[in-house]
Symmetry: C2
Subunit: 152 residues, 2 copies
Amino acid sequence: MAHPVDAGGSWASRAAERLAAAGYRLGGARAAVLDLLDEQPCALTAYEIEAALRGRGRAVGRASVYRVLDELDELGLVTRVELGQSQARYEPARPDHHHHHLVCERCGAVVPFDDAGLERAIDALSRRADFDVHGHDIVLRGACAACRGSLS
Amino acid sequence: MAHPVDAGGSWASRAAERLAAAGYRLGGARAAVLDLLDEQPCALTAYEIEAALRGRGRAVGRASVYRVLDELDELGLVTRVELGQSQARYEPARPDHHHHHLVCERCGAVVPFDDAGLERAIDALSRRADFDVHGHDIVLRGACAACRGSLS
DNA sequence: TTTTCTGCAAACTGTTTGCAAAGGC
DNA sequence: GCCTTTGCAAACAGTTTGCAGAAAA
Protein backbone atom coordinates (compact mmCIF):
# COMPACT_ATOMS: atom_id res chain seq x y z
CA MET A 1 0.00 0.00 0.00
CA ALA A 2 1.63 3.18 -1.17
CA HIS A 3 -0.22 5.58 1.09
CA PRO A 4 -1.90 4.85 4.42
CA VAL A 5 -5.29 6.64 4.02
CA ASP A 6 -6.38 4.12 6.62
CA ALA A 7 -8.79 1.30 6.04
CA GLY A 8 -12.33 0.48 6.98
CA GLY A 9 -15.24 2.82 7.08
CA SER A 10 -13.34 5.99 7.89
CA TRP A 11 -14.16 9.23 6.18
CA ALA A 12 -10.76 9.19 4.49
CA SER A 13 -11.26 5.78 2.97
CA ARG A 14 -14.69 6.67 1.69
CA ALA A 15 -13.33 9.91 0.28
CA ALA A 16 -10.45 8.06 -1.40
CA GLU A 17 -12.92 5.72 -3.04
CA ARG A 18 -15.05 8.49 -4.38
CA LEU A 19 -12.01 10.32 -5.66
CA ALA A 20 -10.91 7.16 -7.47
CA ALA A 21 -14.40 6.69 -8.87
CA ALA A 22 -14.25 10.24 -10.15
CA GLY A 23 -11.02 9.43 -11.98
CA TYR A 24 -8.55 11.01 -9.59
CA ARG A 25 -5.29 9.32 -8.71
CA LEU A 26 -4.17 9.12 -5.12
CA GLY A 27 -0.90 11.04 -5.09
CA GLY A 28 1.07 12.04 -2.03
CA ALA A 29 -0.53 15.42 -1.56
CA ARG A 30 -4.08 14.15 -1.78
CA ALA A 31 -3.39 11.24 0.56
CA ALA A 32 -1.73 13.51 3.12
CA VAL A 33 -4.62 15.97 3.13
CA LEU A 34 -7.17 13.17 3.42
CA ASP A 35 -5.35 11.64 6.37
CA LEU A 36 -5.10 14.94 8.18
CA LEU A 37 -8.70 15.92 7.60
CA ASP A 38 -9.86 12.53 8.75
CA GLU A 39 -8.62 13.31 12.26
CA GLN A 40 -10.33 16.69 12.49
CA PRO A 41 -13.44 17.24 14.56
CA CYS A 42 -13.84 20.74 13.20
CA ALA A 43 -12.83 23.06 10.38
CA LEU A 44 -9.26 24.04 9.53
CA THR A 45 -7.91 26.79 7.28
CA ALA A 46 -5.70 25.95 4.32
CA TYR A 47 -2.79 27.47 6.20
CA GLU A 48 -3.44 25.32 9.27
CA ILE A 49 -3.54 22.25 7.07
CA GLU A 50 -0.30 23.19 5.37
CA ALA A 51 1.42 23.83 8.72
CA ALA A 52 0.12 20.62 10.29
CA LEU A 53 1.34 18.54 7.39
CA ARG A 54 4.74 20.19 7.42
CA GLY A 55 4.85 19.61 11.17
CA ARG A 56 4.40 15.89 10.73
CA GLY A 57 7.03 15.63 8.04
CA ARG A 58 4.62 15.34 5.14
CA ALA A 59 4.98 18.80 3.69
CA VAL A 60 2.68 19.58 0.80
CA GLY A 61 2.79 22.62 -1.45
CA ARG A 62 0.25 25.31 -0.67
CA ALA A 63 -1.20 25.14 -4.16
CA SER A 64 -1.79 21.43 -3.78
CA VAL A 65 -3.60 21.96 -0.50
CA TYR A 66 -5.96 24.38 -2.21
CA ARG A 67 -6.39 22.14 -5.22
CA VAL A 68 -7.22 19.11 -3.13
CA LEU A 69 -9.66 21.05 -0.95
CA ASP A 70 -11.33 22.38 -4.03
CA GLU A 71 -11.81 18.93 -5.53
CA LEU A 72 -13.12 17.55 -2.26
CA ASP A 73 -15.54 20.42 -1.96
CA GLU A 74 -16.79 19.87 -5.49
CA LEU A 75 -17.45 16.20 -4.73
CA GLY A 76 -19.19 17.15 -1.50
CA LEU A 77 -16.57 15.38 0.59
CA VAL A 78 -15.61 18.44 2.59
CA THR A 79 -17.65 21.37 3.75
CA ARG A 80 -16.24 24.79 3.17
CA VAL A 81 -17.22 27.39 5.77
CA GLU A 82 -16.50 31.08 6.02
CA LEU A 83 -16.75 32.25 9.55
CA GLY A 84 -16.17 35.94 8.99
CA GLN A 85 -12.44 35.70 9.53
CA SER A 86 -11.68 36.44 5.91
CA GLN A 87 -10.41 33.01 5.21
CA ALA A 88 -12.13 29.80 4.32
CA ARG A 89 -12.13 26.74 6.56
CA TYR A 90 -12.68 23.16 5.53
CA GLU A 91 -13.89 20.12 7.41
CA PRO A 92 -14.68 16.55 6.42
CA ALA A 93 -18.35 16.20 5.48
CA ARG A 94 -19.79 13.54 7.76
CA PRO A 95 -23.55 13.39 7.19
CA ASP A 96 -24.06 11.88 10.63
CA HIS A 97 -22.09 14.64 12.36
CA HIS A 98 -23.74 17.73 10.96
CA HIS A 99 -22.81 20.76 13.05
CA HIS A 100 -22.38 24.52 13.07
CA HIS A 101 -19.92 26.95 14.61
CA LEU A 102 -19.53 29.34 17.47
CA VAL A 103 -16.80 31.94 16.89
CA CYS A 104 -15.26 33.76 19.82
CA GLU A 105 -14.92 37.43 18.95
CA ARG A 106 -12.17 37.82 21.51
CA CYS A 107 -9.78 34.94 20.89
CA GLY A 108 -10.98 33.68 17.54
CA ALA A 109 -11.67 30.16 18.79
CA VAL A 110 -14.01 28.08 16.66
CA VAL A 111 -16.25 25.68 18.56
CA PRO A 112 -18.62 23.21 16.91
CA PHE A 113 -22.16 22.70 18.15
CA ASP A 114 -25.36 21.11 16.97
CA ASP A 115 -28.97 21.71 17.87
CA ALA A 116 -32.00 19.74 16.83
CA GLY A 117 -34.40 22.63 17.36
CA LEU A 118 -32.40 24.78 14.98
CA GLU A 119 -32.36 22.08 12.32
CA ARG A 120 -36.09 21.64 12.68
CA ALA A 121 -36.66 25.36 12.22
CA ILE A 122 -34.49 25.37 9.11
CA ASP A 123 -36.25 22.36 7.64
CA ALA A 124 -39.63 23.94 8.16
CA LEU A 125 -38.46 27.16 6.61
CA SER A 126 -36.84 25.37 3.67
CA ARG A 127 -40.09 23.65 2.83
CA ARG A 128 -41.94 26.95 2.81
CA ALA A 129 -39.38 29.07 0.96
CA ASP A 130 -39.63 30.17 -2.64
CA PHE A 131 -36.16 28.76 -3.10
CA ASP A 132 -34.67 25.30 -3.46
CA VAL A 133 -32.59 25.01 -0.32
CA HIS A 134 -29.60 22.68 -0.63
CA GLY A 135 -27.71 23.55 2.51
CA HIS A 136 -27.19 26.04 5.27
CA ASP A 137 -24.51 27.58 7.46
CA ILE A 138 -25.06 29.04 10.89
CA VAL A 139 -22.48 31.03 12.80
CA LEU A 140 -22.97 32.25 16.35
CA ARG A 141 -20.67 35.05 17.51
CA GLY A 142 -19.77 35.92 21.06
CA ALA A 143 -17.37 35.09 23.84
CA CYS A 144 -16.29 31.52 24.52
CA ALA A 145 -16.32 30.08 28.02
CA ALA A 146 -12.67 30.91 28.64
CA CYS A 147 -12.88 34.50 27.40
CA ARG A 148 -16.16 35.16 29.15
CA GLY A 149 -14.56 34.18 32.43
CA SER A 150 -11.43 36.24 31.96
CA LEU A 151 -13.26 39.47 31.21
CA SER A 152 -12.69 42.37 33.60
CA MET B 1 -26.48 71.98 4.80
CA ALA B 2 -23.22 70.75 3.38
CA HIS B 3 -24.24 67.16 2.78
CA PRO B 4 -27.75 65.75 2.36
CA VAL B 5 -27.65 62.64 4.63
CA ASP B 6 -31.40 63.18 4.71
CA ALA B 7 -33.35 64.27 7.72
CA GLY B 8 -35.76 62.66 10.12
CA GLY B 9 -35.57 59.22 11.61
CA SER B 10 -33.78 57.54 8.73
CA TRP B 11 -30.99 55.11 9.32
CA ALA B 12 -28.53 57.53 7.72
CA SER B 13 -29.42 60.38 10.02
CA ARG B 14 -29.16 58.19 13.09
CA ALA B 15 -25.85 56.85 11.87
CA ALA B 16 -24.57 60.38 11.21
CA GLU B 17 -25.48 61.36 14.76
CA ARG B 18 -23.69 58.44 16.28
CA LEU B 19 -20.65 59.08 14.15
CA ALA B 20 -20.61 62.70 15.31
CA ALA B 21 -21.03 61.59 18.91
CA ALA B 22 -18.06 59.30 18.46
CA GLY B 23 -15.98 62.26 17.31
CA TYR B 24 -16.08 61.66 13.56
CA ARG B 25 -16.52 64.51 11.11
CA LEU B 26 -18.96 64.14 8.26
CA GLY B 27 -16.78 64.44 5.18
CA GLY B 28 -17.85 63.80 1.62
CA ALA B 29 -16.92 60.14 1.52
CA ARG B 30 -18.70 59.25 4.74
CA ALA B 31 -21.82 61.17 3.74
CA ALA B 32 -21.93 59.52 0.33
CA VAL B 33 -21.61 56.03 1.76
CA LEU B 34 -24.27 56.72 4.39
CA ASP B 35 -26.70 57.99 1.78
CA LEU B 36 -26.17 55.02 -0.45
CA LEU B 37 -26.45 52.44 2.31
CA ASP B 38 -29.61 54.09 3.57
CA GLU B 39 -31.39 53.08 0.36
CA GLN B 40 -30.32 49.45 0.51
CA PRO B 41 -32.68 46.68 1.53
CA CYS B 42 -29.85 44.16 1.54
CA ALA B 43 -26.10 43.78 1.68
CA LEU B 44 -23.66 45.21 -0.86
CA THR B 45 -19.99 44.50 -1.44
CA ALA B 46 -17.42 47.28 -1.17
CA TYR B 47 -16.99 47.10 -4.90
CA GLU B 48 -20.72 47.48 -5.53
CA ILE B 49 -20.77 50.49 -3.24
CA GLU B 50 -17.83 52.05 -5.02
CA ALA B 51 -19.41 51.47 -8.44
CA ALA B 52 -22.83 52.75 -7.37
CA LEU B 53 -21.32 55.94 -6.00
CA ARG B 54 -19.27 56.50 -9.11
CA GLY B 55 -22.37 55.88 -11.16
CA ARG B 56 -24.25 58.64 -9.43
CA GLY B 57 -21.40 61.12 -9.81
CA ARG B 58 -20.23 60.94 -6.25
CA ALA B 59 -17.10 58.88 -6.73
CA VAL B 60 -15.29 57.91 -3.56
CA GLY B 61 -11.88 56.31 -3.29
CA ARG B 62 -11.89 52.61 -2.62
CA ALA B 63 -9.84 53.02 0.52
CA SER B 64 -12.39 55.46 1.89
CA VAL B 65 -15.21 53.04 1.22
CA TYR B 66 -13.42 50.39 3.25
CA ARG B 67 -12.51 52.83 6.00
CA VAL B 68 -16.07 54.09 6.36
CA LEU B 69 -17.50 50.58 6.37
CA ASP B 70 -15.02 49.56 9.00
CA GLU B 71 -15.94 52.46 11.28
CA LEU B 72 -19.64 51.82 10.82
CA ASP B 73 -19.15 48.16 11.61
CA GLU B 74 -17.21 49.00 14.76
CA LEU B 75 -20.04 51.25 15.92
CA GLY B 76 -22.56 48.56 15.13
CA LEU B 77 -24.20 50.73 12.46
CA VAL B 78 -23.70 48.24 9.66
CA THR B 79 -23.69 44.49 9.66
CA ARG B 80 -20.89 42.77 7.88
CA VAL B 81 -21.79 39.43 6.35
CA GLU B 82 -19.72 36.87 4.52
CA LEU B 83 -21.84 34.72 2.31
CA GLY B 84 -19.18 32.35 1.09
CA GLN B 85 -18.41 34.38 -1.99
CA SER B 86 -14.96 35.33 -0.72
CA GLN B 87 -15.87 38.92 -0.22
CA ALA B 88 -17.57 40.77 2.56
CA ARG B 89 -20.94 42.46 2.22
CA TYR B 90 -22.31 45.27 4.32
CA GLU B 91 -25.83 46.39 5.08
CA PRO B 92 -27.32 49.04 7.35
CA ALA B 93 -28.09 47.62 10.78
CA ARG B 94 -31.79 48.18 11.38
CA PRO B 95 -32.74 46.42 14.61
CA ASP B 96 -36.37 46.27 13.51
CA HIS B 97 -35.49 44.65 10.17
CA HIS B 98 -33.31 41.78 11.29
CA HIS B 99 -32.90 39.30 8.45
CA HIS B 100 -30.71 36.59 6.97
CA HIS B 101 -29.69 35.56 3.47
CA LEU B 102 -30.39 33.04 0.79
CA VAL B 103 -27.60 32.69 -1.75
CA CYS B 104 -28.29 31.20 -5.15
CA GLU B 105 -25.50 28.80 -6.04
CA ARG B 106 -26.27 29.19 -9.72
CA CYS B 107 -26.52 32.95 -10.29
CA GLY B 108 -25.09 34.31 -7.08
CA ALA B 109 -28.20 36.28 -6.19
CA VAL B 110 -28.53 37.29 -2.55
CA VAL B 111 -32.08 37.34 -1.20
CA PRO B 112 -33.00 38.47 2.30
CA PHE B 113 -35.48 36.57 4.45
CA ASP B 114 -36.57 36.43 8.04
CA ASP B 115 -38.18 33.71 10.08
CA ALA B 116 -39.54 33.92 13.60
CA GLY B 117 -39.19 30.20 14.23
CA LEU B 118 -35.54 30.34 13.40
CA GLU B 119 -34.95 33.29 15.73
CA ARG B 120 -36.77 31.48 18.50
CA ALA B 121 -34.61 28.41 18.06
CA ILE B 122 -31.47 30.56 18.17
CA ASP B 123 -32.61 32.39 21.28
CA ALA B 124 -33.33 29.15 23.07
CA LEU B 125 -29.99 27.74 22.09
CA SER B 126 -28.17 30.92 23.09
CA ARG B 127 -29.59 30.75 26.58
CA ARG B 128 -28.43 27.17 26.98
CA ALA B 129 -24.99 27.50 25.42
CA ASP B 130 -21.73 27.59 27.32
CA PHE B 131 -20.91 30.73 25.39
CA ASP B 132 -22.03 34.36 25.52
CA VAL B 133 -23.84 34.75 22.23
CA HIS B 134 -23.81 38.31 20.84
CA GLY B 135 -25.07 37.70 17.36
CA HIS B 136 -25.61 35.18 14.61
CA ASP B 137 -25.50 34.77 10.84
CA ILE B 138 -27.51 32.29 8.86
CA VAL B 139 -26.98 31.55 5.19
CA LEU B 140 -29.18 29.24 3.16
CA ARG B 141 -27.74 27.95 -0.11
CA GLY B 142 -29.63 26.68 -3.08
CA ALA B 143 -31.36 27.77 -6.26
CA CYS B 144 -33.44 30.93 -6.39
CA ALA B 145 -36.91 30.96 -7.93
CA ALA B 146 -35.62 32.13 -11.31
CA CYS B 147 -32.79 29.60 -11.54
CA ARG B 148 -34.91 26.76 -10.26
CA GLY B 149 -37.39 27.39 -13.05
CA SER B 150 -34.79 27.62 -15.79
CA LEU B 151 -33.09 24.34 -14.99
CA SER B 152 -33.01 21.75 -17.73
C1' DT C 1 -6.19 77.09 12.26
C1' DT C 2 -6.05 72.83 13.97
C1' DT C 3 -7.20 68.25 13.38
C1' DT C 4 -9.49 64.96 10.70
C1' DC C 5 -10.63 63.13 6.33
C1' DT C 6 -9.73 61.72 1.58
C1' DG C 7 -7.57 59.79 -2.60
C1' DC C 8 -3.79 57.73 -4.51
C1' DA C 9 -0.51 54.29 -4.89
C1' DA C 10 1.94 50.80 -2.83
C1' DA C 11 1.85 46.91 0.34
C1' DC C 12 -0.35 42.70 2.11
C1' DT C 13 -2.96 38.38 2.57
C1' DG C 14 -5.45 34.59 0.99
C1' DT C 15 -6.10 32.09 -3.16
C1' DT C 16 -5.36 30.62 -8.08
C1' DT C 17 -2.75 29.47 -12.21
C1' DG C 18 1.18 28.17 -15.64
C1' DC C 19 4.63 25.20 -16.19
C1' DA C 20 8.28 21.60 -15.90
C1' DA C 21 9.51 17.65 -13.18
C1' DA C 22 7.94 13.65 -10.40
C1' DG C 23 4.92 9.96 -9.77
C1' DG C 24 0.41 6.89 -10.17
C1' DC C 25 -1.64 3.21 -12.50
C1' DG D 1 4.66 4.70 -20.89
C1' DC D 2 0.97 7.70 -20.75
C1' DC D 3 -1.31 10.97 -18.34
C1' DT D 4 -2.18 12.96 -13.86
C1' DT D 5 -0.42 15.18 -9.97
C1' DT D 6 2.79 18.08 -7.56
C1' DG D 7 5.64 22.10 -6.16
C1' DC D 8 7.34 26.34 -7.30
C1' DA D 9 6.91 30.95 -8.50
C1' DA D 10 4.34 34.34 -10.46
C1' DA D 11 -0.24 36.27 -10.95
C1' DC D 12 -4.57 37.76 -8.89
C1' DA D 13 -8.46 39.74 -6.07
C1' DG D 14 -9.94 41.81 -2.09
C1' DT D 15 -8.48 44.63 1.55
C1' DT D 16 -5.34 47.64 4.30
C1' DT D 17 -1.93 51.24 5.08
C1' DG D 18 1.28 55.46 4.48
C1' DC D 19 1.30 59.83 3.12
C1' DA D 20 0.47 64.53 1.28
C1' DG D 21 -3.13 67.63 0.06
C1' DA D 22 -8.20 68.96 0.87
C1' DA D 23 -11.61 70.03 3.98
C1' DA D 24 -14.57 69.87 8.51
C1' DA D 25 -15.34 72.24 12.77
